[in-house]
Amino acid sequence: MSETAIKLRKREKTSLFDQVKELLPDGGNLNLCLTCGLCSSGCPATGLVSMDPRKMLRMIALGLDEEVLASDWPWMCTMCQRCIYACPMKIDIPQLIYNIRAQRPREERPKGILGSCDMALKNDTNSAMGTNEEDFIFVVEDVLEQYQEEQPEFAEMQAPIDKEGAEFFLNQNSREPVTEPDEMVPLWKILHLAGVDWTYGSKGWAGENYCMFLADDDAWKHVVQTQTDQTHKLKCKTYLNTE
């Protein structure tokens, strides 16, 4: 448990507690917490930096905003929602964590997440590794051509980019085109054998979204809007996540 004694003071009007009450009319009413501890007992982040979900809830209910905001624990909760699943009152702790993350000045949030989100905002590809449209198209075409030649059974295989009217708009984690392009091939082969009509988008192809983890609403929205616009432009019926 925490090494420093918890000092109580009067809850302020704009406290996390009130915010959460407003933000979460049906899932977030902290007054409903039975302090049963089911959330904490099933949470893998329990005990990290002397914190656990129930304790965090209690601290917020007691108005200890400063201590909560100073803790790094909200960046160690993975917002996996297992606690909601276990909680008899279905209290939305990960949503609370999201709001706590969002309270930290943007530039003070963990550098790795911040950098990945900022990178995604640089290009319309949304790639957290900064891959632009040209580089992506080049890698895909280059790898495809090589496999079409070397494995004649797949001479007809395609990896279309911006194919209008394809049934599926497929996304792709940046890790493959950037660091291990051969890993894209098994999926292409599978789609080819199944006779699937699919396409990547030159814009919005990247599947990852660190802006959500950064708790940056505007950036998260921007990424989803880019993916949406490109899917509309290509008139695809289904946006297909590969993860």
Binding site: P44, M76, C80, Y85, P110, E180, L193, Y210, Y239, E243
Partner: protein, 193 residues
């Protein structure tokens, strides 16, 4: 990422006229419809055991147990029913691996590995040889857990083992396979680089 798209469309009221789906549902569908014909004979004598990580973002947070069932249906078709071992707990009650939520990027490595201790234990309890990870964050985190806690189980993407069972996995598409599978069912071995 499935959850970021689905939750984002909803949260920001983004108008759209397409459906958002995850490929695990389709792998199962294509197999059921006979569009894909995986064959698990390669593993009959080998008897290599597989378990899988249900990604929180796809199962608990998006499509629930249905997609977890589809995932298993597809895995069993590929590795053989008797060669799949489930973790416990699983499906919507599964533990997060600790790679999600930005934890892999946030710089708190020691805490992240501590978080993953439960996952590593779950995996070891299955006695499975391989873990099939459903997403990249899970893949990277469990891969690291495997090294850190010295279980040394390979962690693979599903497309790898599906392509292997379809007989089309080439020699350069085997980055994450263990030595036991490097030489199995190799498609165009002469193209090895």
């Amino acid at each position: 990422m499935t959850f970021a798209v689905r939750a984002g469309l909803k949260k920001f009221n983004i108008e759209h006229n397409f459906e958002v789906k995850n490929i695990y549902e389709y792998y199962a569908k294509w197999i059921r419809e006979g569009k894909l014909k995986p064959n698990s004979d390669w593993n009959k004598e080998l008897g290599i055991k597989f378990t899988c990580q249900d990604p929180c973002q796809i199962v608990r947070k998006s499509y629930g147990d249905e997609i977890a069932k589809d995932f298993r249906y597809a895995i069993k078709a590929v590795v053989g029913e008797e060669n799949f071992v489930d973790m416990s707990p699983n499906f919507s009650n599964n533990y997060c691996c600790g790679g999600g939520g930005g934890f892999l990027q946030s710089g708190f490595k020691e805490e992240r590995l501590e978080y993953g201790r439960i996952k590593d234990r779950q995996i070891k309890e299955t006695k499975a040889d391989y873990v099939i990870a459903g997403c990249h964050n899970c893949h990277a985190q469990i891969h690291e857990l495997s090294k850190h806690y010295e279980g040394n189980y390979p962690v693979i993407h599903f497309w790898t083992i599906l392509a292997l069972s379809l007989g089309v996995l080439g020699p350069n598409e085997r980055t994450y396979l263990g030595d036991d599978l490097m030489e199995v069912n190799v498609f165009h071995p002469e193209t090895a680089m």
